[in-house]
């Protein structure tokens, strides 16, 4: 703790007493207290905030925070097989470089003149994502996938005028929870079942629950459990023949390899950009995208900002600005579509850098690498006694469910044993449903070496006996 009585803080230049005094004189008051005249005595906080006194030097602050962080165990020093909405992918050095640029880090709401670079880099993000998703419109990022999916549901409601949505029960549980809250009280949320063998959508259940009251159907592909849904077009056809919208969520890292949702009838695509050059940050670095065709009836329903490219007074110069600004709450408050504000812009810029570096070949090769690596892991794990992997008989991308229920050990016991060997085992799915009791969600990316996977298998083999 800094015991110096009156010190000028480096972050507060005008805390220098002489400067303060001079400024007060120029204002014409005796003390700063006079400037607070409008706050009545009765509202003044008279106590002391129980917050530590200033740590003082930057060195002290650094040591203090680093000591706390040292209580964590990171995925750099342990082998992690965790996924489920946050994934460990390689972050190119240039992504960090641009992400840390002061100009981008500390800019905010300037005009498309002095902040032209912000507009262009976000326009490029929108454009690069559009190629990946094979669409013509992508928004300036919203908070995360939960928000993107929730807004997509409300967009479907506004476009169709209907009051029910169908959501497959294999979407990420966070998503379902967020959608339920976001749609109350305007939309009813009904869940759709999955096929118990394949983990894909139960088409009969979809047909049974579809009606003229349904605004949209939402599913994720790959699903929360890593399963590749191959019936996408059939689903979209059923949805469209009932006048509803097909809404699909996707983790874009797979799209160098897999057909994007627009390729099987999706009207709205949503997802998260976390895989595209963002570190995991304890699940704290997320950005949601919403993508559609360039049709007025869709564009006008976005709550987000949409940056458009245009001309300037000088031939050949590109300018940027907001498309249909009066669509937003910035333009017309509660008459706008939902609401908009600070969200995830810097992550969007970073994802744009990632896609620019990776290019088409990089994304395709990465997709294939992840596919092969996860298949290798599944093949090796399936040799273990009592282990059923993958739990569902389908194609998978990156993630898969491992069923330990025939091993005589719980996922909790297994993960404890793995932890002792510096391995973070797959997430325990037990809380979700009876079907997934003693199952774990494993994630394998390009950051796992063969040796990492072999070590997992060795340790599990020892643990399972």
């Amino acid at each position: 703790m800094d015991k110096r009585k009156e010190f000028v803080h480096p972050y507060i230049p005008n805390s220098v007493p002489q400067v303060k005094a001079r400024m007060l004189k120029e204002i014409g008051v005796e003390s700063i207290e006079e400037l607070y005249e409008d706050i009545p005595e009765s509202l003044r906080f008279k106590g002391k905030m129980n917050i530590p006194q200033a740590l003082g030097s930057e060195y002290d602050l650094k040591r203090h925070v680093e000591q706390i962080l040292a209580k964590n165990r990171s995925c750099s020093k342990n082998i992690s097989f965790l996924g489920g909405g946050c994934w460990r992918h390689y972050v190119p050095a240039i992504c960090d470089e641009i992400n840390h640029r002061s100009e981008f880090l500390t800019a905010y709401a300037g005009e498309p003149y002095e902040d032209h670079g912000r507009f262009q880099s976000l326009f490029e993000y929108q454009s690069l994502m559009a190629e990946l998703l094979d669409v013509d419109v992508v928004n300036v990022p919203t908070y995360d996938w939960c928000q993107a999916a929730s807004t997509a549901m409300r967009m479907a409601e506004r476009i169709t005028g209907r009051s029910e949505i169908l959501v497959v029960d294999t979407v990420n549980p966070d998503r379902l929870s967020a959608i339920r809250n976001y749609c109350t009280p305007v939309l009813t949320v009904t869940t759709l079942k999955h096929d118990e063998q394949t983990g894909m959508i139960d088409l009969d259940d979809l047909k049974a629950k579809m009606s003229a009251n349904v605004a949209g159907v939402y599913f994720e592909n790959p699903s929360y459990l890593g399963i590749i849904e191959s019936q996408g077009q059939a689903i979209s056809d059923i949805v469209h023949s009932n006048g509803a919208l097909s809404v699909v969520g996707v983790d874009p890292i797979c799209l160098g390899l897999l057909t994007p949702p627009s390729g099987y009838g999706a009207d709205i695509t949503c997802g998260d950009i976390q895989s595209l050059g963002l570190h995991m940050y304890y699940g704290g670095a997320l950005g949601g995208f919403i993508a559609t065709r360039d049709e007025e009836k869709f564009v006008m329903e976005y709550p987000s900002r949409l940056f458009g490219i245009t001309k300037t007074a000088v031939e050949g110069e590109y300018g940027f600005g907001d498309v249909a600004y009066d669509r937003t709450s910035f333009g017309v408050r509660e008459k706008g579509k939902e609401f908009v504000g600070t969200a995830a812009a810097l992550w969007g810029i970073t994802a744009g850098v990632y896609l620019s570096l990776m290019g088409p070949k990089g994304m395709t090769e990465l997709g294939r690498h992840i596919l092969q690596k996860s298949q290798y892991a599944m093949a090796m794990l399936s040799k273990l006694k009592g282990v059923k992997v993958p739990r569902f008989e389908s194609s998978h991308f990156k993630e898969f469910v491992v069923d330990f229920s025939q091993t005589g050990k719980t996922v909790e016991q297994i993960n404890k044993a793995l932890l002792d060997e510096n391995i973070f085992g797959g997430h325990d799915l037990g809380g979700l449903s009876k079907e997934l009791d003693n199952c774990a969600l494993y994630c394998v990316t390009e950051m796992h070496t063969k040796a990492d996977i072999d070590k997992l298998v060795t340790v599990l083999s020892k643990c399972l006996g």
Binding site: I12, N14, M23, E26, G28, Y36, D38, R44, F45, M49, P52, Q53, A54, V65, I68, K71, R73, S74, L82, P92, R101, E103, L105, T106, Y108, A109, H116, G117, S121, F123, S127, W145, Q147, D174, S177, P185, S230, L257, T259, Y282, G283, G284, A285, V299, T310, A313, V323, S329, V332, E334, E338, F339, G341, T342, L346, S356, P360, H369, Q372, Q375
Partner: protein, 519 residues
């Protein structure tokens, strides 16, 4: 009293005339090589692709540009130079945004691998450091606000407002009154999201306009509360920088009608340690960590909106919150009537970490000092700007403000025909931002300045000198302003295409389809 150090800079922004990334495409170039799959793996599983359902194999690779690594770097570095961050300019012209110094040490701390390389689903014993930081930040915010429990989950201020509206609705639902109470009251000088987020929850929004003091009127409030009132969402001080001294009457009126009171504390920077949500009798409040608490704005995120509630609303908070059982920290999902999730996982952790470090650096007295100096800086500017011919500070005549002021160029406009927008564009020629106001423009020709505590008196004087210079130009040579900016990144932008569905181009591919001939 002229400050000779306050020069009007002969500024020119970096201008690269840089292409759109797609224009840099050179087939065959590549920016990154991906790791090669181990040969033993390929031998065992083959190419992997043959196991994919045929219709899920992407037919055409994505048409991303192919660009070598150094050129990608150069491209984005050039774009960054064409962006005016607070680290570069005297960023006091973004009123309501609280653009203060974002300490670089906090960036270093967030880059620590024990912050950036941890996964949210790790065993909680392996993330005690992360949970400790979240728990302690919550404890600081409880002290600052007087609220009983915080969720750090909402992603931003607007997200926190939406969460407040959700909790208010859940509360009334638990008492069987959700259908009856379908109205939310807010004010025109509170953030647009206070109105818009409530509307998402199906609320009818009633907006109070200002009286001649620039404040919402308690009498007007009494006329609109009823047994249909679910709650009040309000900022104080509002975007005018004027503190409503009758705020306790407001919360009492709403409580008497059976509603809840939510405090939008986006404008907290001038009142830290001075007045609290609790004593004003609010049930909910939130703070913007990326404004008041020194985390960077990042061009518009990531941010974080920390939401506090009193005891009776704790059970509705989004899950999980962070608990401490006297030995270890844990993620607590045990809130019986939680509204569920508003975001995946627990919150914008790097933003939370930076806010924690900012508070620890300043300490309790430092927070109040920051507030005091922000208010000092603001009133210093008010005193000087009032004296600029062409400028006005409407409402609260002769009174001070808290941390920002909503000004008006109305006299300038009447004298010269120059608009607030034209002043803003010309200020860009001197390396300055100036923001007008949220819509609608209740104050005509508005501009809003919030200096925060981060800039020195010399810097404030420099900004003033810039304002005075541009205003003088407006009187002497208004045509000069009409063609501005001249020293910025681009020239006058043609916005006409952006509202026309046939012409707008939100992506490069759309631009090519609509505006360029393709071979």
């Amino acid at each position: 009293m002229k400050n000779n150090k306050a020069k009007v800079r002969n500024f020119h922004q970096a201008k690269w005339d840089e292409e759109i990334i797609f224009e840099l495409d050179t087939p065959g170039e590549c920016g990154m090589l991906t790791p090669q799959i181990e040969p033993e793996i390929e031998q065992l599983v083959g190419d992997g692709i043959s196991t994919l359902p045929q219709n899920m194999k992407r037919v055409r690779p994505p048409e991303l540009p192919e660009v070598s690594q150094m050129r990608v770097l150069k491209h984005f570095l050039r774009l960054s130079q064409q962006c005016l961050g607070a680290d570069f300019n005297i960023d006091i012209g973004q009123g309501t945004c609280t653009v203060k110094y974002n300490p670089k040490i906090n960036e270093v701390l967030a880059g620590n691998e024990n912050a950036s390389q941890i996964h949210p689903l790790q065993d909680q014993s392996t993330v005690q450091g992360a949970l400790e930081i979240m728990y302690k930040l919550e404890s600081f915010l409880k002290e600052i606000s007087g609220m009983d429990r915080f969720s750090l989950q909402p992603s931003s201020g607007s997200a926190a407002i939406f969460t407040m509206a959700s909790i208010i609705q859940a509360y009334h639902k638990s008492r069987g009154q959700a259908e009856q109470r379908d109205e939310i009251i807010t004010t025109i000088f509170s953030h647009p999201s206070d109105a818009a987020a409530a509307a998402v929850k199906g609320y009818k929004v009633i907006t109070l306009y200002q009286n001649e003091d620039g404040l919402p009127d308690a009498e007007a409030l009494k006329k609109v509360v009823s047994n249909r009132t679910a709650g009040l969402l309000i900022t104080n001080p509002e975007d005018t920088g004027i503190f409503n001294p009758r705020i306790v009457e407001f919360t009492r009126i709403v409580h008497q009608a059976g509603g809840l009171c939510g405090y939008d504390q986006a404008n907290a920077n001038g009142i830290l340690g001075i007045t609290r949500a609790k004593e004003a009798d609010f049930d909910l409040c939130f703070f913007n960590l990326h404004k008041t608490f020194g985390a960077p704005h990042g061009c518009g995120g990531p941010g974080s909106g920390s939401l506090g509630v009193n005891k009776k609303l704790m059970e509705f908070l989004p899950v999980p919150v962070v608990g401490f059982d006297s030995e270890k920290y844990f993620l607590d999902y045990n809130l019986p009537n939680t509204i569920g999730k508003t975001r995946s996982f627990y919150g914008a952790f790097p933003v939370i970490l930076k806010a924690y470090a900012w508070i620890m650096s300043l300490g309790a007295d430092g927070l109040t000092e920051a507030a005091n100096v922000a208010v000092l800086n603001n009133n210093y500017l008010l005193e000087k700007i009032k004296k600029i011919k062409g400028a006005a500070a409407p409402y609260a005549k002769g009174r001070h403000r808290i941390e920002q002021v909503r000004y008006s160029w109305e006299p300038l406009f009447a004298d010269t025909g120059i608009t607030t927008e034209e002043v803003t564009f010309r200020l860009a020629d001197f390396g300055f931002h100036l923001w007008s106001s949220h819509h609608p423009f209740v104050v005509p020709q508005p501009f809003t300045i919030e200096p925060t505590e981060s800039y020195s008196k010399d810097e404030l004087d420099e900004y003033l000198a810039g304002l005075e210079h541009v205003v003088r130009e407006a009187y002497e040579d208004p045509e000069k302003l009409k063609g501005a900016p001249y020293n910025s990144v681009v020239h006058k932008i043609d916005h006409s295409t952006l509202d026309d569905p046939k012409k707008w181009a939100i992506t490069w591919r759309s631009y090519l389809k609509k505006h360029k001939c393709t071979d």
